[in-house]
């Protein structure tokens, strides 16, 4: 069945992607686009990658679509008739581009199909042999936070940059410029009921990052989704920027310090200097610094994405 599902999903993803691009209404375009993300979630499950599937679900198609939709609401301008006419008039140019792209891809596809041979004795298999010593049940988590922890530190820095950049760009001098719609009864009551549940779920994902799929990034975004619900339904609700800053700065600095502690104690940056016996695998407290790093990432990502979403919804001045 794997082959059939892969074929079917990939074809539907392509069709949806094409429709998403051809829509002149941007909102519909974004909704279709999140369908592409949904397709890749299915594929990642098929490919035995539950971690990636979860990430794609909450980040790739979830929060990205939210960010896009909020952006479109800020730029609420329906394309004028003239513009649509212009788009249509560019038809010939588009056909030329399409043909060019098609030709390139045919060549590329032919080359790859003919010559690509996947190497099976790779770094991943070598790391799996070490994974027992890392002490975490989830090998992807071991790789993300420990073996390739340096990448993740960089990734955290990228997200931090983006959050700071959004904060810079969407800060207005005074007043605020919010998008807000009066919520109906069900949304208002429901959000109050759902908020603690989603928050708890996010925390669960973060804390169990070394045992099951998920972790700091995914859980952090789920926490941000809980706050998103509150931003949408409660006009007065706002995050305390002081607390957000302390959380994100503190978690980031603690991450770097944790890495440096490994350097000082073991001679390896981000070395796992806490005890992480292999017998303890599967317990909540296991894996040495791995769960600590994921919790720090969870705090950082949760506060940053909440901040980004808040800034996008209401372009307010800094507090």
């Amino acid at each position: 069945m794997t082959g059939f599902i892969t074929l079917f999903t990939l074809l539907s993803m392509s069709v949806v992607a094409l429709f998403s691009l051809r829509q002149s209404n941007l909102t519909q375009s974004v909704v279709l686009f999140s369908g592409v993300g949904l397709g890749s979630v299915v594929l990642f499950f098929i490919f035995n990658a539950p971690d990636v599937a979860l990430t794609e679900a909450v980040i790739g198609s979830g929060i990205t679509a939210v960010v896009l939709l909020i952006g479109i609401r800020h730029m609420h301008k329906e394309p004028e008739i003239e513009e649509v006419m212009m788009e249509n008039r560019r038809g010939i140019r588009r056909i030329a581009i399409a043909l060019l792209v098609l030709l390139t891809l045919l060549l590329l596809g032919k080359t790859l199909l003919g010559a690509l041979s996947v190497e099976t004795s790779n770094a991943g298999q070598a790391l799996l042999e070490h994974a027992m010593q890392a002490g975490a049940a989830n090998a992807v988590t071991s790789v993300v936070t420990y073996f390739r922890g340096f990448d993740t530190l960089g990734e955290v820095a990228v997200l931090f940059l983006a959050a700071t950049g959004v904060g810079l760009l969407l800060t207005v001098e005074k007043g605020e410029d919010a998008i807000y719609i009066e919520p109906n009864f069900i949304l208002r009551i429901g959000s109050g009921f759902l908020f603690p549940l989603i928050l708890l779920f996010g925390l669960y994902i973060i804390v169990h990052g070394h045992l099951s799929p998920g972790g700091g990034f995914q859980g952090g975004v789920v926490i941000a989704a809980a706050f998103l619900l509150l931003f949408l339904t409660r006009r007065r609700f706002g995050l305390s920027h002081k607390i957000v800053t302390i959380l994100e700065s503190g978690a980031g600095m603690a991450y770097v310090l944790l890495g440096l502690t490994g350097l000082w104690l073991m001679g390896l940056f981000l070395g796992n200097f806490l005890p992480h016996p292999a017998e303890k695998i599967g317990m909540l407290v296991s894996g040495g610094i791995i769960p600590i790093i994921y919790i720090l990432i969870g705090i950082k990502v949760g506060s940053e994405i909440s901040y980004v979403v808040e800034k996008l919804i209401k372009r307010s001045h800094d507090v």
Binding site: V67, L159, I281
Partner: protein, 131 residues
């Protein structure tokens, strides 16, 4: 007949061919969107589609359907016959980076729109040679 077709689709060579052609098709659609459309949101969507295509390409070729996800559980007590965790970790990183770029791009676009009322790169004219 249908059974045969399903087994044929499941064979490693066919699966690889499906992943390569399918994800390249998706990549191509994204690339087409990038070149052919000019509204900023459309361009960001195109970039994201291209990224998704690359993730599917990578994971589809790197994973083996006969192995399990690299997570220990009640049935799996050691890391043997498990899928390669490195591509998964790499894609996880890339997805987060893609979100970062996307949210930054959107905030650029919002601020640009609020200042100029334009949302299309074809209308941009503030830079360039001036006589």
């Amino acid at each position: 007949m249908f059974e045969n077709l399903l087994t044929w689709l499941d064979s490693p060579q066919t699966l690889q061919a499906i992943v390569v052609t399918g994800s390249l098709l998706l990549f191509g659609i994204g690339f087409y969107g990038l070149l052919a459309y000019t509204r900023i949101i459309k361009i960001l969507i195109s970039l994201s589609i291209m990224e998704s295509a690359l993730f599917v390409f990578f994971l589809g070729l790197a994973s083996d359907p006969h192995k399990t996800a690299p997570i220990l559980g009640d049935l799996f007590k050691n890391f043997e016959k498990m899928n390669d965790p490195v591509p998964q970790a790499a894609i996880l990183t890339a997805i987060v980076i893609s979100l970062a770029t996307m949210s930054l791009g959107i905030s650029f676009a919002i601020e640009y729109y609020k200042r100029t009322g334009k949302n299309d790169i074809a209308q941009m004219d503030a830079l360039g040679e001036k006589r």
